[in-house]
Symmetry: C2
Subunit: 451 residues, 2 copies
């Protein structure tokens, strides 16, 4: 039934998805302000045509929210579907094989920024909903909330939730914004990491200096910044900030046992991303390192002369963007403070250091005993032919923890992404087949949720 | 006499100098190729009008050379004047108070890229020569050689010198491309540091990765690059590359004694460049560190996301431009190899490292017993009213060592720069008074050289 519906409606559906993708809704770049509004309005139109009772673009402290609902029975439970319409920047542009905001279908995949994260995945939710409404199969209420600031840390969502608790009231939240272990290994995400993200500015002399006249006599801010970043992790891949691990929950033995049994081919993993050796915290496996353990990454660095050829200069300033992924029980604000203080304490002599906390959020754990979790499990089984593995993932969707804190609602993470979808990278893509199966899985979630 | 000549001719002279400065002859940026030719042609015109017998723009393996000569007496000694017509890049543009290539006079200074380095200083030589010729005072022969690749390491000059040994034959070389201790402390440069300069490329994964999905499990190339750069110097400010100091000549006790007596106010030095503390090799003073001891500087670094806001990414690559200043007896090619090998040996697991050697050159020492040095000393005394101090400087003019090796000629470094001239930086400038005194000093050099 649903398979046939998808087949008959696919070209229209893809045109709808492409109309969302074509809007360059990059939330971190202020010149895209108007695109955010356009994208929100487009979502409103699409939700209305999918069958909601009402939809509106609502103001927030930042980019607007799209809210829509279909109330079929005031006594029935309510599923709140969350997604985000903003996307990551697209640099480096030269590595894209086709235009990031002009989606193309090639080798059975859609290639474009947002094809997966999260326009493609949110669209799966909307089309499953459409099918249920059009065929009179929806027995519970459905609400949609789509935000435009997920990629910059959802700064306005918490306040919005606090203001609109009644509007957002629901029994469970459903989110498609995560990935599966692989196309052959469907999985449901039962945990997410938290995040803290800073920008560091190191200032040495008050102007760029000639490295011949001053070299050796003054601290070079790039040298200083490198020394600071280098010190933040040790040779065992552990983060050296004092008290960083204080609240880290040790991965339970039974979970490590389960992780050890996930079919995972480290050689294939290395080959897929083109590295010779993995590296991470001593005493943990790759799957543990990228899901249940904290990490530290410098996401960007710049300073001095970066053009063609050579310029012999001691720059006045050097900058870095650094981030840590956190595990449940670690508090992002506490970590923000610990790292900022530590950076000041290790600032080399002769430079001043400014640390700006850009954003952060907490991790999340979903109990697999929830009825909604079991419905999601069955939905996956119907679409993929096998029961999904419950796994913790390394990414962060800080607002999942916010939903729990502010609205008191647990979230089910029904994500259909694949590692090869290259989200946040050039040539982001999603297989058409995953969109089809995703819709099928979500339709079945709703059907089983009523049982 | 010379003072009056300058006064009567100053507005013409400045217009001539400005016509050179207005040509953006940035040798490291390939889009300025045509400007290099224009600048060389302009120099040819100016030298002809200054009184040379002949001048020509000659091809080299790179940017053309300007050669000119005035032979007054085949039996008389010959002074070869070297300068360069290329300039450094001008970024960051927003820090300039006026256009870098539109010279203006403000507070008695000329403000523009090249106002000092080296258009302004070379111009001093040309105008001193003009005065001597126009007044029949030149008793020896003078040759000029101006190159267009000094700021990128003079890659074509050595071959040019080898091809044109006869043309360039001379008894002494005179160069104005260095600075004095201060306007109140005239000094002659008796030593220069050498240089080695590399670009380092660190590659981790074959594409940018999501720092949530992969963070903690793969080596981040920025983290890796920082660890490598951090390791290259220790807490005592020493370079850690094995054998780096093998050929370093220990500063002789009498020279350290002399340096210790140079009037130098460290508080003023720190205030001028806006730093709270100096930093450098343990056991040496600031003046020793920036002239007689090697140094290591990262001149540029870049990788990952450097735009507005936050992007959670593990980049595929990270880059740095690094350089060392070398002291006499250190060989730049040997150091180039040592550092490149060392960088490979400390490459963290999980990344590959590519090291490109961009350029280098040797240091230089000028014996203060040379008759030409004594003439320069007297020239300075005539212009500044006091005997100049002989000092080693930290900058590099690798071709000075090349001249000695290929042509067998020693060089006298009559530099009129000041630290506040901000060469290689935004708001490069030169006091008009230093141009006037410089011309006077060079005129007197020539007069005393004949004695």
């Amino acid at each position: 039934m649903i398979k046939q519906y998808i087949q008959e409606n696919e070209s229209r559906m893809l045109e709808e998805l492409f109309s969302l993708i074509r809007i360059p809704s990059i939330s971190s770049e202020s010149e895209h302000h108007a695109d955010m509004l356009r994208c929100a309005e487009r979502w409103k139109e699409l939700l209305i045509s999918a069958g909601v009772d009402s939809a509106e673009v609502m103001p927030s402290d930042g980019n607007p929210m799209v809210f829509a609902e279909k109330i079929v029975n005031a006594q029935a439970p309510t599923v709140l579907i969350y997604g985000h319409y903003d996307v990551m920047p697209v640099e480096p542009l030269e590595l894209w094989k086709s235009e990031p905001f002009e989606p193309v279908i090639r080798d059975g995949h859609i290639w474009a920024r947002g094809a997966d994260d999260d326009k493609g995945q949110s669209f799966i939710q909307a089309k499953a909903f459409e099918y249920l409404v059009k065929n009179g199969l929806l027995k519970h209420n459905v609400k949609f909330i789509l935000e435009g600031e997920e990629e910059i840390g959802s700064p306005s969502l918490e306040t919005f939730c606090e203001k609109h608790k009644e509007l957002l009231k629901a029994d469970i939240i459903l989110v498609s914004d995560t990935s599966m272990l692989s196309a052959e290994l469907p999985s449901l995400t039962t945990g997410l990491r938290g995040l803290s993200y800073w920008q560091v500015e190191v200032t040495g002399p008050n102007r760029d200096l000639h490295s011949g006249h001053f070299g050796g006599a003054v601290m070079n801010p790039i040298n200083a910044l490198c020394k600071m970043i280098a010190q933040l992790t040790d040779a065992d891949g552990r983060i050296t900030v004092p008290h960083f691990y204080d609240d880290v929950e040790e991965v339970p033995a039974e979970e490590r046992e389960m992780i050890a049994h996930i079919p995972f081919n480290e050689e294939k993993y290395k080959a897929a991303i083109g590295i010779k050796e993995v590296f991470g915290e001593k005493g943990y496996s790759t799957l543990e390192r990228n899901s249940c353990r904290p990490s530290f990454d410098c996401c960007g660095i710049w300073g001095g002369y970066t053009g063609e050829g050579a310029k012999t200069v001691i720059p006045s300033k050097a900058f870095a963007k650094i981030s840590t992924r956190l595990v449940p029980h670690q508090n992002s604000e506490k970590i923000a403070k610990l790292v900022a203080e530590h950076l000041q304490s290790i600032a080399p002599v002769g430079v001043t250091v400014k640390v700006d906390y850009l954003h952060g959020g907490e991790g999340y754990v979903c109990p697999i005993s929830l009825p909604a979790y079991k419905a999601a499990e069955k939905g996956f089984e119907a679409a993929f032919g096998q029961r999904p593995l419950p796994v913790r993932r390394g990414g962060s969707i800080p607002i999942i923890a916010t939903f729990e804190k502010v609205l008191g609602i647990k979230t089910i993470l029904m994500g259909f992404g694949l590692e090869s979808n290259a989200i946040h990278s050039p040539n982001e893509n999603i297989p058409l087949d995953m969109i089809r199966r995703g819709i099928e899985a979500v339709v079945n979630f709703h059907l089983f949720y009523d049982e």
